[in-house]
Subunit: 407 residues, 2 copies
């Protein structure tokens, strides 16, 4: 089934606002074995919308729109679809009653302009909005377009979500395909192009699956999609030896989850001493529910004084070896491990820019891992802006620990 | 000029990844007095891409694509445009040399598959990629489409951005309209609907400007657009008394920048003790270049043992008052201020979920601010998922300090 999403609102084109509704809808569709072929964001322009709706009616079997159902002069999703499909808009008595009740519950009377929201195209069904005043529309097999379904939803995420779950999904279940299954393999420590070459032969052997390689700053994901779970399982078995210790985890998990799970499985704990990453690594770990089972804390020590105050490092010695140096990273890790009584501790220092610092170029950083068997340290020099460098440094530090845990 | 953006990548349809490139590009276009009419996200499917490129060639004068220029099997932006426009792809000697130099600088040899990236359609010009290996393409007046410009950029934001600024904008300047100017006012501590009501009268008085109100978890933005900077300046003067201390900053700055700038202007410093926010607040501050001038560090103390080890808090006393409590927040702030010798310290504890903790419901948190005049503490109870709660808590803590600094 060809499905497209149309997000309506000039703010999506002219401001920093991104369309997150369609991300949520995409995840819900995947649960039904369905997915978008295309997502479009378009402004509140009558001409642009009419052109896009006309195209969509010609190419998609399910059209989901968000936005443009409000009471104001620039809301005309229903009106345009009705025009294109030659249907009249008539007031729906139930929708009018719902709106009056919504306002009455708040001791208010709807402004006259709001009654426009109770208009529904003839042949379509209203979708109740239990948390707002704009009803949605479900329009199946409109005249001249048999087999097409149009779903019009409000742009407010909270309204859109509950209407989708309660009223749209039940209607879609009859149409749902065989669910699509996904095999997701997260890889660390390997550049994307290297992974492409290294896995080509195995991917070709499993060529009946849909393959995607997704790289971001902190990890690379190999995704395979297929209708038969057994095919995905066979692919997984073939990939594991090829990826070896570079394979971080499967499923929904990421590098942070893998490290926390590895620590918990061994009954071990982690502490951090972060200079260059400034709390980012702690923040990524504590974003995960249950992190406190293994994560103890982080000394975010941005200044020499803080390195002394929280970790007891000697300022004179620090200035001597340099605050961006191997000895500094080692001292951070060992002090954090000792002070916080953790099994493992990562110590991170470096220069995230914008200027060279104490002889260290921008992008140079040192990661030390202190553990039961002693301390190891790695030096990296990478390119990127400040936040990119912090993200990559945090990921390399976690991966250093992960490899130690599976050793 | 009709301009559209095409973001390419299956991950934009099937994962939580959102297209942020087009948001950045939209802002740069506004600076040239231009703007997108439409933005589309589409997967790495040959058929879907070919259909969309064909449509775009029929309706837009400037087509900007991001993604699909990489070395892997599912990258074929250049190939498809070349096919549609009947042009051959030939190796560009300069692009090949750049790629070899890029790898040589890293003591590596490009994998064979990478040479595909040096292919450029005949009639188009390569755009150099100074920070990666995929060159872009500028294609003006392709055969059969006079007046059309196609810009193909990599999907990696850092590469896309510098190529746009250095190579695409100069080419577009000749086509640009009157630049659109923006007044951006960041507001904290006021819900969006309240801000809407409170500012309606002033907005109507400046009704010839385009107004937008944008809310996210950490702040609300009021945006005005117009062609005359004097109009925007007049609007700013009228808004300042209406917004009062709720106005955080103007321009590109955000709450974090405003707090760091306020501290620096007073020659003061900040330390943190974070439990519930787990390093997020430190991370947001240290993402800003030059943060170290005012920010000293954070004790991220996720466990009782960490609260003792890094801040000297008594575990027995802590268990008595509760680790999610007013007294705990106060003790965190005061210990951080004293240990790190900072002018100000924020202490944060709370329950970000998923489960109720020591009698505190999910969403309850306490923020204490210790300063030269003593310590104040605030209690909040909010709704949201774990990361939303951490973000809102971090913003409320920063805003507490900000209001103190302007008092």
């Amino acid at each position: 089934m060809r499905i497209e999403c149309i997000a309506i609102g000039t703010e999506l084109l002219t401001t920093r606002r991104v369309d997150t509704n369609s991300v949520w809808l995409g995840e819900r569709l995947a649960g039904l074995g369905l997915g978008f072929h295309r997502k479009t964001a378009v402004g509140d322009s009558r001409e642009d919308l009419a052109a896009l709706f006309r195209e969509a009616l010609g190419r998609s079997e399910l059209i989901v729109t968000t936005g443009g159902l409000g009471p104001t002069f620039d809301d005309f999703t229903k009106e345009l679809f009705a025009e294109l499909l030659g249907a009249e808009l008539v007031e729906d008595a139930g929708s009018r009653a719902d709106m009056l009740a919504f306002y009455a519950a708040r001791n208010r009377v709807p402004p006259q302009v709001n009654f426009k929201q109770a208009l529904i195209p003839v042949g379509a069904e209203p979708l109740k909005n239990p948390v707002g005043t704009a009803p949605g529309v479900w329009w199946q097999d409109p005249a001249g377009h048999p087999g097409v379904r149009i779903v019009m939803l409000p742009g407010v995420p909270r309204e859109m979500k509950c209407m989708w779950e309660d009223q749209v999904e039940p209607r879609l279940k009859a149409l749902a395909g065989a669910p699509v299954h996904t095999l997701r393999m997260v890889v660390a420590g390997v550049p994307e192009s290297n992974l492409d070459e290294r896995t080509r032969e195995v991917r070709e052997r499993h060529g009946h699956l849909d393959w995607t390689i997704l790289a971001n700053l902190t990890q690379v994901e190999l995704l395979a999609r297929g209708s038969d779970p057994a095919d995905l399982e066979a692919a997984r078995r073939d990939f594991e030896p090829v990826l070896g210790p570079d394979l971080v985890c499967l499923g929904d998990a990421n590098l942070e989850d893998a490290v926390l799970a590895g620590l918990q499985a061994r009954g071990e704990t982690l502490a951090l001493a972060e200079s260059m990453t400034g709390g980012l690594l702690a923040s990524r770990l504590t974003a995960i529910p249950g992190a406190s089972a293994a994560f103890q804390g982080s000394a975010v020590v941005y200044t020499v004084a803080a390195k002394q105050a929280l970790l007891g490092l000697d300022p004179v010695w620090l200035e001597g070896v340099g605050t961006v140096s191997e000895p500094c990273a080692i001292a951070l890790a060992e002090a954090a491990r000792q002070r916080l009584g953790a099994t493992w501790a990562l110590g991170i220092c470096g220069n995230a820019g914008p200027d060279a610092e104490g002889g260290a170029p921008v992008g140079r950083f040192y990661v030390a891992l202190a553990g039961p068997g002693g301390t190891t340290v790695r030096t990296h020099t990478l390119a990127g802006d400040r936040v990119e460098l912090q993200l990559r440094c945090a990921a390399l530090a976690l991966d250093l620990l992960r490899r130690q845990l599976i050793d």
